[in-house]
Symmetry: C2
DNA sequence: ACCCAGAATGAATGGATATTCATTCCGATG
DNA sequence: CATCGGAATGAATATCCATTCATTCTGGGT
């Protein structure tokens, strides 16, 4: 639930010992999901094969079907994992009763959304690979919109609190929340597709600007 | 170069006459590209096959390779078509010397970006299907970023003019332009993936809000 | 009316890939 | 230490799909 770290050099195809190992089901599942993420990022969703994924994970071909029944299901579970990791992280920050200052909480949110963890190319690739198929696959739409809705509600609530605290006039929390999350999504897209023109630094500045224009007292 | 219309009921698998017809190369190419767009929208990029595309176009399997050499190339050309249609439309409006009022030009741009033509599910699906693969396929990145860069420049120029005309203070045209196009991209994503939560009407309101906050004198 | 360049066809080919399952082997248990 | 449930393997299978090309047919030119 909180790995979010390695993913890069996790499974060096063990040069030393190739002895067969038995590991708990949950661990194997995660191993395969991580490998799937790497494969999608490197080769694109449409080019991913089971052989690719299992060998990336340092395992045999049969094992994926043992733990996930089918390729389709493996892909579905991978999307669920990425979606929950992203939205879970956001929600934790937004609820963050440990961070009483609302402006500070906004900052933390922005850091998370455009910081290292989320904007690693790997994760973004996966994210948008699925978005691309979502139009044709209701299953994907459902997975994403389920977690998305909750995050949207939390964001709206946070904005509402900020509006109340700052006594901002003529601002609609709901509309602003939609705008902000759309902006973040769009920035992610830009970082992925035109990294030459949009740096992470500039993406942050743009998002911060949006917030500053809406909540001038809360953003320095 | 300006079709942008039908695409829906174009090629009814002719129930009446199935007589073979010879048509100019350009026409067949467009027919196949249109069919590809429909197939991607309906089945997803990763599930599209040559059979699917050619039968959707009401043609035989061999013809795609005759006109496009390979599936890869057909997909590439389809992306190029969609990208050019979208960005070309934007650029035409932004340059629009026929529309002297800058605020009006902004409105027209927004209408185009979130109006019927562009936000048809079909086109959006295609758009994001390719974005999803762009991380792994430099060819796609190149096609998109080429047209994208030009549109970004025009938008920045338009914003510059508006800033000058309105004597707005403390606003950076470049940053604002990045923000605006990212916002539009994000809204498109929302319309595609969570159509239940984000209507076209609301998407427009959100985008308009962004512009109003930046250029209050130019947007009613 | 006839011809023929080349557009269009679709059966055949070969390569790739998801999925199965008989077999192997680990390691917890008593 | 011997046993055995079930985790792991990977060769084999069946399916699917892009691409080819020998053949058919069309329609403009003469």
């Amino acid at each position: 639930m909180s790995d979010a770290s390695g993913l890069m050099t996790e499974e060096a195809p063990q040069t030393t010992g190739k002895r067969r190992q038995i590991r708990p089901k949950a661990e194997r599942r995660q191993q395969l999901i991580d490998a799937t993420i790497r494969c999608i990022a490197q080769h694109g969703l449409s080019k991913v094969t089971m052989q690719m994924v299992t060998s990336e994970a340092g395992l045999s071909v049969g094992i994926a079907n043992l733990h996930f029944q089918s390729k389709d299901n493996l892909l579905k579970e991978t999307l669920r994992f990425v979606a929950e990791e992203y939205h879970g992280g956001q929600i934790k920050i937004m609820e963050g009763s440990d961070m009483p200052d609302l402006g500070q909480r906004l900052d933390a949110l922005l850091d998370f959304q455009l910081g290292r963890g989320v904007t690693q190319r790997q994760k973004m690739s996966v994210w948008f690979a699925y978005y691309g198929e979502a139009g044709a696959r209701p299953v994907y739409q459902k997975i994403v919109s389920t977690v998305d809705r909750l995050a949207a509600q939390k964001l709206e609530a946070l904005f509402s609190d900020i509006i109340k605290e700052g006594e901002y006039q003529g601002v609609d929390a709901r509309e602003l929340a939609t705008g902000y999350s759309s902006l973040i999504d769009g920035l992610h897209l830009g970082l992925l597709v035109t990294p030459r023109e949009l740096t992470k630094r500039r993406a942050r500045a743009v998002a911060r600007d949006f917030l500053r224009r809406a909540f001038p007292q809360h953003i320095s």
